[in-house]
Amino acid sequence: MTLLELDSVSVHYGRIRAVHNLSLTVEEGEVVALIGANGAGKTTTMRAISGIRPVSSGRILFDGQDITRMKGEKRVELGIAQSPEGRRIFPGMTVLENLDMGAYARKDKAGIAEDMERVFELFPRLAERKDQYGGTMSGGEQQMLAIGRALMARPKLLLLDEPSMGLAPQYIQQIFRIITEINQQGTTVLLVEQNAQQALARAHRAYVLETGSIVKSGTGKELLADPAVKEAYLGVG
């Protein structure tokens, strides 16, 4: 079943067109990767899906429902959560409060407590730092917190914008392992990554974005083997 569908979506910043006629789908249960060079429009696409940036044309469907004009906060209630680029942790809130913010739209206390436990299992580091302010956490810790916070919404679709950015190699491995784990526990994932090698290896399918448009798509394996992708994004060839 198709969980998310973008149908010829265009997004502008003033007169600058950042995303042009972009179409993609994410099926329930998948990990889908979106790769592309700096400025290709990956973050803009994520912002449009979450409703932070309005689309200028095209449609966004989620779970069969047209959400193109729906307010961002309502989309969270439908089951779309995002760990945004640059982490965007609330600096003046503690780890615990940041995680609580992730569950802001939820009312089921028992479920929230369960998910908090789950996040602490995934990221034991966060459990050790419950009362530390988000703004004083290290970059890697903030990244864990951002992912954990998004999970606290218990989303159907988890949007991850560069979850490995700024992380040491051993953390990158760990983050990707956790993404797979989250997916196996039943969450659909749309992943934006600079680290194309890892992303393609983990993703069921992937799209390649160039200056605001999709130029290529296929399974992760296909794209890993594609000579053009290899040359442009995998630093070989």
Partner: protein, 333 residues
């Protein structure tokens, strides 16, 4: 033969009145706390709105003065008239005062809500620049004043007093009156409620999230428009309560432009403590109240307001973000 220094000392008043300062130290400190706690409650409104919208809501002084009129009319409609203070049983007195607080909070809260809806929200929907908000705020402040002016004229409403002054105890050389205790204790209680609301409730977390990062707050499912409304209402409610205390202290305080100077002081208090910071509003308010009283004792009554603002400027020179810093946005409030 006398020297010129002696001559000066003999003929002119001393420039700095250290005697008055020392003699009235306790009286001025206590009186300063009393004024200061009113500043603090009004300052909370400036600070909350600034924290969430980065907007200096100049019209907050009118939100406050509408509460002062609401207080006066509550007393009037209860049958009280200008003139001698009536003899009231304590229970009845408390009931009337509580009623006045409720009415004033409702009136100020509603004024703040309408202000947000009519003046600021349309600008936000159009993505207006920061300067447009500031000009609108000043315009709204004047319009709210003129509405009062057209309706009630330029004279203040005549003083209606409900509370008979009584000395409760002494501190140093100063006597502490019932009114002072009521104002300080009630204001601090109100501040505690506001602080708890912002730091411990779900809505309060929403306020802090929008203050720290509005886009990310939306990603968490926070309805920013609702949070902004709520912030204005909370600021208005606090200003309404402050207005009742103010009218008990200064019963002739209901005048169409009577919010201006007090609003300015409360704003200064918010900046002094660190704008965007709830604890800063309390600290800044109390400090400002005390400082201006002592300033008046030292330099004379005409310097009262000057001293308050000179201190503000001096503090900002050394700590541009105020004493406690801007913290609704950064650290914990």
């Amino acid at each position: 033969m006398i020297s010129s220094a002696q001559y000066l000392a003999q003929d002119s008043e001393p420039w700095i009145n250290t005697d008055t300062f020392i003699n009235l130290f306790w009286a001025n400190t206590i009186g300063g706390l009393e004024y200061g706690s009113i500043y603090a409650l009004v300052a909370l409104g400036y600070t909350l709105v600034y924290g969430v919208l980065k907007l200096l809501n100049f019209a907050h002084s009118e939100v406050f003065i509408y509460g002062a009129y609401a207080t006066w009319f509550t007393f009037f409609l209860l049958g009280f008239r200008p003139g001698p203070t009536p003899e009231l049983p304590v229970g009845e007195l408390i009931a009337y005062l509580v009623l006045a607080v409720i009415v004033a909070m409702l009136v100020s809260g509603t004024t703040a809500l309408v202000l947000e809806r009519v003046a600021y929200r349309p600008l936000r929907n159009r993505g207006a620049p920061r300067l447009a908000f500031l000009i609108t705020a000043i315009g709204a402040s004047l319009i709210l004043q003129q509405i009062l002016f057209l309706w009630r004229g330029s004279n203040p409403e005549q003083a209606i007093r409900l509370l008979r002054p009584e000395t409760l105890f002494n501190v140093g050389s100063a006597s502490v009156q019932n009114l002072t205790v009521i104002i300080v204790v009630a204001s601090v209680l109100m501040w505690i409620v506001a602080d708890t609301f912002v730091n411990r409730t779900r809505f309060g977390r929403g306020i802090r999230a929008v203050a720290q990062d509005p886009d990310t707050a939306m990603l968490m499912g926070v309805n920013k428009e609702r949070i902004i409304m709520l912030t204005f209402v909370v600021g208005g409610l606090l200003a309404g309560a402050a207005a009742v205390f103010y009218m008990m202290k200064i019963p002739q305080g209901a005048q169409y432009n009577g919010g201006f100077l007090l609003g300015l002081k409360a704003f200064a208090a918010a900046v002094l403590g660190g704008i965007g910071n709830l604890r800063g509003a309390l600290l800044g308010g109390l400090l400002l109240g005390i400082i201006e009283n002592h300033g008046q004792a030292l330099f004379g009554g005409e310097w009262r307001d000057v001293v308050a603002f000179v201190v503000l400027v001096l503090v900002l020179m050394f700590r541009p973000t105020g004493i406690l810093g801007e913290s609704l946005g950064k650290a914990r409030v």
